[in-house]
Amino acid sequence: MTTKSKTVAGLLAIFLGSFGVHRFYLRSYRLGIIYAVFFWTLIPGILGVIEGFRYLLMDHDDFVSKYSPDTTPVKADNSRAVPNTETNREESELEEPSVELSFDIESTVGSSHVNEKEKKNQSTKTWVSPGQDITVSGYSISGGMVYVGSELAGVQGYRGTDACLINPSLDANSTRSDPNGTRMFYWPSYSDIDPGCRATYLQWLANGRRDPDFDIGYVFLFFYGLERRILFDAQYSSEARSEIPHLINEVEELLEVYSGEGSFQSYATQLLDMARARYNPEALATAPPPKTAYRHELPLGLRVQIGRQLVNGEQIDPELAYRCFQQAPNSYLRTPAERCEDAFKTLFLVRYVEKFNGGLSREPNNTPLTVSYGPASRSLPPQDDIEIDDLPDISALSAPQKKLQELANECCDELDSYSRHVGKTQDRDTLEALSLLPKPVLDHRKTDSLTNFLQTIESELGSLDVVETELDLFLEYWFTQPNEKVRERDLRRLAKLLEGLGFGIEPDVRFSTPSRGWGDPAVLFRLSSEMRFEESDISESIRLIQKLAVKVVLANDEVAPEQTEYLAENLGTFLELNEVDRIRLDAHRRWLILDSPTLHGVRSRSEDISTDQKIQIAEFLTALACSDGEIDSQEIDELSNIYSVMELEEGMVHRHIHQLQTQTEPDDEPVTVRESNQISEEYEIPAPEQPTSTGTSGVTLNQERLAETFKDTQEVRGFLTNVFEDEYNVQQEPSEPEPASGPDQHTERNLSEEHRQFLIDISEKSQWERKEVEELARERNLLLGAAIESINDYAFEQIETPIIEGTDELFVDQELANEILQ
């Protein structure tokens, strides 16, 4: 950083003081802003003038010490000087390294009293190489890797001896040893700590540097030396460079022991990263990830690997993503992820591939992956950032991490029931426990019980896809005892386990099938690997319909193949069901047939169905009952029961049967039933005969049916015309064939003379009392009734209408009578 000129500062203060420009110049930004904001009050202006004169009148050294150093030490403080708590040290790490860098180099130049060359010499002189032993103050230190000597200047800033230097001439008092570090500074230096501490340090070194009971300060003291060797000496000394693998190894080992110390772990990890980045970038990716309880960023190695994959245009592979999630600083793992880590990982990997199609972040981001390091030692300058192979830095993005966390949460949700089961019973491997595992995890699980179970199933199925069996087959593998009531929960788990293994079972209590137990039938079927289903699209009403349908099919104690066919066709293909659901529906049907369902629960379930739909269901069932070509009383009984359970009018079943039978042309368009839950069902149910509900207009004629009716009408007209007209138009033919002994042939064809006379008699009047006519008839030796019959019959032949009508009073159509008599 340049030293600020007091002249410039003074002039700025006087002339532009009201805007705080001088304050900005002196890097007192906060005050500068305050000045600028309040310039309108004129107070900053006045202050500026005063300050300006003060600067100009001030002694140069005073000015520099007050203002220029004022800024520099602030930074120095932050990074190294005063803080004595670990938290502060943490915070310092978070400082922008670049800012530090820019002025620290300057200040290094400005403040060093020993030149570079001298420093290098001192380093070389005092360094004890790895593997060498040395004795200091009576402590025999093996393994080397320390600076021992009288003189070793700090590389930067700190004017004095490097903190790591073990000066044997300094007093070390073993009686006042302080392994707890109560007298240690936060930023210790071998030269500055008290003799007791020095002795403790030497003790620690002599003990092999791995004693975890010593204060971390001593470790740091040693660590400063490693830092210097790696960061400073290795820059020029090939010897130092050759030692780097040892040094790295040493750091790694220390890290193993002292990983509990957050601050040490942080420095050590970063030093390792820096060292590798500088001297062996390849090792970055392969270096074992540090095992630590907590961290504030993704391990570098991981970031390098991810960066490489991104640069190569690859997707982040699942394994890496898992590690990325696991080691990210803000990842949150819920209980299932910890309790069932294997399962969690398996699931995570599978779901990751499913969800992100193998990739998490598609575009490499622009933030370069850099390694920066602010040494723990005050004697070393901050290090230049190193960009690694132009790789992007994934940790600059928060979205991928968020996505992974979401994924992890989802996985945890999936594992929740299994985890709770494990937590409760410590049982990880029974079928019951396995049934709780999500499918992908189950696929990776191999246990004896599972293998046996699978074998049983396979041998039961053989080469078939569907087989009718008994629940016992499965229950034997379960916890339940024979003849004990099987809990619905167990059946649910059983179904889930089977599904995970690629099989379906009916009854499947997950789909509102009632619970069953030992000795009950079951239908086992294969699901091909693509056919997975968590949820079924088969709605409750479909199942209800199917159940009722099976009831109807079973009604007459025999299952007519036409009926099952009809059922399968109409429920299977007319519904827009996927293959799985179709298979399931079919299996369900087979099971229902085995199970002989009751009407239990139908009433309550049908309550949600609208009346219109109920009627359609009912019509479907009736059509089903008729589909085998006959309907018997048992079927009708069953239908009647169902109708009444569905709270349909009692007589409706007969009306439906009737409609079904009187329908001459089958309807081409099936009735479409749309359910509230958007599943479309289409049945080939005959449309109701009357289009009663065609809106307000009400009159919509079906042209086809009209033509049909018309044709039919023409036909019947022709037929009736023959009946009514031909017979009396063809007069030669006797209209009424006589009985063999028929004596009245004659009178039928032509009116007999008696009748003729009688007709003449009675056509005198148009209205007669019966008594009078009877007398007339008797006179002609006729029975009145017979005579009237004969005359009217004759009249029918001739003029198609009777002449004499009435019983007690008789009416004679005189006009017609005359017509006949002609």
């Binding site: 007589g651 009737h658 001459t664 009159v699 004629l701 039919d712 009408t713 019947v716 017979a786």
Partner: protein, 449 residues
């Protein structure tokens, strides 16, 4: 509402003014016309043909049993009337009755005889189509016998007994012969009283043997619950001997059996029905046919309907292949489909055609008016207008009549003024009992030109 039906117009035909008037008058009075049914019957060709074949079989000395099954308003009664009219035309004697709670097939309290009495009252011939033809039939038989007696020079009674000899083998056949002879006796003596007692016997009007004995002067079996069906068989043979083709018995409202609340009573009625069906199907009766009309539940209800009686069910069960194009008419059950709007439309066309005397040139209204009329009806009474069409027909004919009489009025203006009464007759099955006798369906029996 958008068709002009060019493809379904009627060809010009000639309808005699007399027929036209007869049809229009009967329909306007709410009755089934006696003549010209061919002009108004809509559809059902298959059914009509099938049953007409039955009639031919009866005329050939065979037997027939049919169950006409249809919902309320599907035209069962009209269909029965149509068949009856055809039967009369074919020279059959017909008898018809509605079953009621008091008129059943079998009972021990006179309900069976009541049914017979109803049938006997409604015995019709072509010349006496409205019932009360029993006397004419008897007289015709006697007149024939008398004539033969005159030709052969033997007493008429001898011929009567001779001819009725074959009846004596049947139950009560001998009594029947006696009664016919007694009627002749009464005629000879010009004794109305005697003739009347004979007719009363024939009509089953004697409640007790004592009463019969008092009136007829001697001990004679009477027609009662136990033998009325035998009497019908006897009657069938008798009408044959009297020169008719056979006897057709129409029993409507069979649902009343279904409604019998007492299971035993129902069962015994079904037993009776079974014996009738058996006779009919096996051809054990001569020249006798039965038509039974009832609702679908009467047939298929497995608790109280015919299907509850296994023997009947097995005889009446039908093929249920709904997809068959043709209705199977070979079984004893004929199902009538409900009326549709299309049926109504064709009916209106027919009526217009009849009204115009068969001449399309003289149509009082165009096709659009038919639809407008239907729409108007629908708005007034809903789908009832075509399901129970009696009032609709009446109003339509009035509508045509007004237009004919007032050529200045346009049909569009007139249509809005039409009021259709809801057919209050039998809107529910529950009321479809005795009342049906009064609401017009039975009016055919009392038809007067």
């Amino acid at each position: 509402m958008s068709n002009n039906n060019t493809d379904v117009t009627l060809e010009k035909t000639t309808i005699r003014p007399r027929d036209r008037d007869a049809i229009v008058q009967s329909l306007q009075a709410g009755l089934v016309p006696r003549r010209g049914l061919q002009y108004i019957q809509v559809g059902r060709a298959q059914e009509v043909k099938a049953v007409t074949e039955d009639l031919d079989r009866i005329a050939d000395g065979g037997s027939a049993v049919r169950f006409i099954i249809g919902e309320y308003g599907s035209g069962k009664t009209f269909f029965l009337n149509l068949i009856r009219t055809i039967g009369l035309e074919k020279g059959l004697v017909t008898a018809h009755a509605d079953l009621t709670p008091d008129r059943r097939l079998r009972s021990t309290s006179g309900h069976g005889r009541a049914l017979y009495r109803q049938l006997a009252q409604n015995v019709s011939t072509r010349t006496t189509p409205d019932g009360g033809a029993l006397r004419s039939i008897v007289e015709r038989f006697i007149a024939d016998a008398n004539q033969e007696a005159g030709n052969r020079g033997v007493p008429t009674e001898e011929v009567i007994r001779e001819r009725l000899y074959e009846l004596s083998e049947l139950a009560a056949g001998y009594a029947f012969t006696d009664i016919v002879a007694r009627y002749w006796e009464g005629y000879q003596e010009n004794n109305d009283e005697v003739q009347h007692t004979a007719l009363r016997w024939l009509r089953g009007e004697y409640d007790t043997k004592t009463e019969a004995k008092n009136e007829l002067g001697r001990r004679i079996p009477i027609i009662d619950d136990s033998n009325w069906y035998e009497m019908l068989k006897l009657l069938a043979q008798f009408v044959n001997l009297a020169g008719y083709e056979g006897l057709l018995v129409n029993l409507d409202e069979m649902v009343n059996l279904y409604k019998l609340s007492h299971g035993g009573a129902r069962q015994s009625n079904y037993e009776k029905l079974l014996s009738i069906v058996n006779d009919g199907l096996q051809g054990q009766t001569v020249g006798l046919g039965f038509l039974f009309a009832g609702t679908p539940d009467f047939l298929t209800d497995s608790k109280r309907g015919l299907y509850s009686y296994e023997a009947l069910r097995s005889r009446l069960s039908e093929s249920t292949f709904a997809s068959d194009e043709l209705i199977d008419m070979s079984g004893p059950v004929i199902r009538l489909s409900n009326l549709t709007q299309e049926d109504m439309y064709v009916l209106l066309q027919n009526l217009r055609h009849v009204h115009a005397g068969g001449d399309p040139e003289k149509y009082a209204v165009p096709d659009e008016a038919l639809e407008a009329f239907m729409k108007h009806c629908y708005e007034q009474v809903g789908s009832a207008y075509f399901q129970t069409p009696r009032n609709t027909i009446k109003e339509f004919l009035s509508f045509l009549a007004i237009l004919e009489q007032n050529p200045s009025v346009s049909w569009e203006d007139l249509i809005g003024d039409i009021d259709i009464d809801r057919d209050t007759g039998n809107t529910t099955h529950g009321t479809e009992t005795e009342s049906t006798g009064d609401d017009g369906e039975d009016d055919l029996a009392n038809f007067e030109l």
